[in-house]
């Protein structure tokens, strides 16, 4: 049963991944990305990670990709985007790094590596509470410091985003205000 679910979802995830790269229309790309993200959530479920699975859906599928699609539909991305790249070595570097990643996955999967053990399966915490409470406990006791630091980092990112957005708007307003003033004063000068 689990094997069937895994292979069906793996096939769907691959279809989604290829679709993201190959589809011509930006909205279709985003929808293929959605497909991949949702099948990833199923993989997490198969690993008994219910919380991670649902967060995958809440954060990635229903927030981030929604924003992608929102921006694409709102701005109407030009389909004749230029393929000139500002960084010249971007494409070969991407190919090399992708190959390295692939080799890493093939070689290191199933090895005892950083954690000292192959990936473990099985429920984290009791079936009754799911793994939410186990995760919350370790997040707010053992890893509290890291958790708070991450929170501060996110707040800094948000503040930075607001600052950048506001500065951009004010700079655009400058030329819009000055010509209006000059045209308003211009007739008086001529008179």
């Amino acid at each position: 049963m689990e094997a069937i679910v895994f292979f069906v979802c793996a096939a769907l995830a691959l279809v989604g991944a290829f679709g993201v790269v190959l589809a011509r229309n930006p909205v279709h790309n985003a929808l293929f990305l959605l497909l991949t993200l949702v099948t990833m959530a199923v993989f997490f479920l198969l690993q008994h990670a219910q919380l991670v699975a649902i967060i995958q859906v809440v954060v990635y599928a229903s927030a981030i990709v929604v924003l992608f699609v929102f921006v694409i539909t709102l701005l109407g991305v030009d389909e004749h985007e230029s393929l000139d790249e500002p960084l010249p070595l971007q494409r070969p570097a991407a190919i090399v790094l992708g190959a390295v990643l692939l080799v890493q996955v093939i070689v290191l999967a199933g090895r005892h590596w950083v954690t000292g053990a192959a990936s473990q399966r099985g429920a984290l915490g009791s079936a009754r509470s799911g793994n939410v409470q186990t995760l919350a406990r370790s997040l707010f006791t053992t890893f509290l410091w890291a958790f708070e630091l991450t929170a501060v980092l996110l707040v800094i990112a948000v503040v930075g985003g607001v600052v950048l957005a506001r500065r951009g708007r004010q700079e655009r307003r400058v030329p819009a205000v000055k010509p209006a003033d000059s045209t308003a004063t211009a007739p008086k000068e001529t008179v």
């Binding site: 927030a63 709102l74 079936a127």
Partner: protein
Amino acid sequence: MSHLLALDPLFQSGHVGFSVFLVVAVKVLVAFALLLVSVMLYIWGMRKWIADMQNRIGPNTAGPWGILQTLADGIKLFFKEQSIPDSADRVVFRLAPYLSIMPAFLLFCIIPIGGQVSIFGHQTFLQVADLPIGALWILAMSGLGVYGVMLAGWASGSKYPLLGSVRATGQLLSYEAAFSLGILGVLVRAGTLSTHDIVSQQRWVNWHSFVSQWYWLPAFVPFVIFLIAATAETNHPPFDLVEAEQELVGGFNTEYTGIRFAIFFLAEFMNVITMSAVATTLFLGGPSGPGLGFLSAGNALNTWLMPVFWFGLKVIALLFVTVWVRASMPRMRYDRLMALGWKYLIEIAILWVLVAAAIEVANVQNWNVWATVLIAFGSAALAYGVLYLAIPKPDEVVEEFR
């Protein structure tokens, strides 16, 4: 696979045989049929209620009291011609209605409509699935519901649907935050994400349970915020800017005809019913209510019928309030809508979550609850005051810049 639904006693043996599969299949089918029939009845009831409020008669021809009017409309829409505009993106155009109806149904799956019952000799909960992460499932599904509206407007390839869908997306994303924080207000108190556990914490003990057990009173502020945000999430008046007829022709579904149009409407009304069911589950005790006193507690009427009856009654009461609001309130202006969501609901909800968390800690640590509440509100007011003084007002920003 059974661990996905492990909370239901149905799966406790760990062995999923044919009869267990049959029970689950029956539950899914019954839930789907129930939802469809209740949408049909709700649309009829809404038209009748609004007609009463506006001194009209309302639908009265098809069936007794016009009760079959929705069915007649549905059949008519089924047989209508379906057209796709030339400028449309054909695949996404066809996909969008299903993307909007699937989350609406999946959300209903975790709602407990009754207690623990026995079907074919199997003990099970009267709900399709009791997920250990039930409350997050609500957020996930209501978030996915955005896609249907957004893609429908984009795929139509014409102006007004696109405007409607951009409005809709902005509105849904904005109220998602207030919606989640409203749910969080209950979760802090309940301490669990499973909908069955949340409901069983609000069980009926005696007549005082109405105020002492149900969460609507201890979590009154989240309750109000949840109702407002849920109305906005379902695009119901006074938040129906998505399909403002005067400005947008019909909003995101302008180009849709026939059964696809019907599916959008089905999804919208399904969402209203589901949100009422969620509010009932989280705040009004779900199926909890007094049983029939003259029968024993284990009687089939008390285990089967009464919980379902109380659940239905509460959902209908909330639906009536929705219709009442629909009939009384004019549509909101878009900037007011955004201001309400971002400047009031989210702030109040965050404040409430912090105070509720402080109260929970005070209970655990045996602190004085009133002192804790006072300090929590005091520090919140202090923080708000500091922020108010520190952040320049919009007009000051402009002056400084000039």
